[in-house]
Symmetry: C2
Subunit: 251 residues, 2 copies
Amino acid sequence: MTTPAADQTEDEFLARYSLHDHPSMAVTVDLACLTIRGERLAVLLIERGGHPFRGKWALPGGFARADETLSESAHRELAEETATSVAHTEQLGTYGDPGRDPRGHIVSVAYLAFGPDMGNPEPGDDAAAARFWTIEDLDLDGDGNDATIELAFDHRRIITDAVERARAKLEYTTLACAFCATPFTIAELRDVYEAAWGTPLHQANFRRKVLSTPGFVIPVGTAATNGPGRPAELFRRGPATRMNPPLLRPG
Amino acid sequence: MTTPAADQTEDEFLARYSLHDHPSMAVTVDLACLTIRGERLAVLLIERGGHPFRGKWALPGGFARADETLSESAHRELAEETATSVAHTEQLGTYGDPGRDPRGHIVSVAYLAFGPDMGNPEPGDDAAAARFWTIEDLDLDGDGNDATIELAFDHRRIITDAVERARAKLEYTTLACAFCATPFTIAELRDVYEAAWGTPLHQANFRRKVLSTPGFVIPVGTAATNGPGRPAELFRRGPATRMNPPLLRPG
DNA sequence: GTAATAGTGTCTGTGAGACATTATGGC
DNA sequence: GCCATAATGTCTCACAGACACTATTAC
């Protein structure tokens, strides 16, 4: 570590400063891409083609670059590893326990992404496969021993945090729209909540809540019916981001 | 980057793997320690004794160590740089824009800490001074040009995020107790909300809300009065962490 | 017509907001 | 007695929850 001389200017200090003067570690960006598939909350995973954890499933991600913001790194990885277009991304948290990566101390900045269901993407480089798994398949509540698939690194914890963040944010934000392809019906928006929370919601009360929140959704016409039943009104997401008071989970 | 051979085992891979095989950057941990002082929300800052930003005010923090979790690094920095005891810490977010540190690309994991007011701590090594500043002094809403003090790095943004997180979490958690020295009165707990939100709350309704939330506070006796007025009942924090439904900000 | 889905009307209970009142202390 | 603060009582309004009902389509 450089010891600053009392009369040194900041420019002089920086000219003599080297990045090797402080400890250094690797930084990765991992993405928890959530969507609704088959009335279930699902997360995009890739099967690792290389060590470590070859053959295990992991969140898409990669090393952060020094010339990018972390958000830019996240969006680059998203574009590289998946053809998935998402409607919302936000930082979830940073995971830096020693031993989380057998290659050494690697800190991972996890990002949360929401998007409508758009099928399984093509696997990118270094990935043997890429597909969405429902969170029931991952057995997040249990110890993981009953799970159908094995997860790499501490990605089970990251996914658990991502799912809990998503469930909580549905309560007090309008982010459910990010899970819907535009345009969407109130019933489709309700399906988002029911899939994420795993509980049925009251149809009439849900509709009133959404429509009484200014800027939650904007009407854009009426759907053609596909089968019996009254045709549903169509909406797109509005400018509002928060719901006040929140829409609380039943129970 | 190592290219894995198809028949390589994970142990063989790790034996040949070097941390120099991937890009590397420095990771720091910064702390936004909030408290209530003089009926105002305040944040602990240190005046930097060395470059860069010598003489500017900054959040306490330092480099993360490879043998610690990020949370352990945060608590170590808290103990080193301040004698402050805090009642709650949580990760706030990670800031990694290129150019945020003139020494090079340094990623900072910011932590949020809450504690009761306990006076200004002694400055640690590398700090010329340490004291709490009210968030009004920092002029977070403005552009910073009117502020009485200059902040180092992107710490204005980190503090802005910390304050907004704290204000929001008071709504749906019982974290206000973390700002109070035990035991405390309902009025002192209300002072936390009024200081953080900058708005008066209705005395009777606030009391009912707190006491009707199971596990928010636990009665521990009655205070001696200091002056005229009925002596107040005393409480300590209860086991509850969340409030349902939340206590919403007026307006 | 029936079945199926979307949307509306209305009652009720809970709880926040506001105001008045009582309780308990110092002086 | 007066003043100051803490705690309680009570009314009202908004809204979530529940249920019944109407509307519009396919068949």
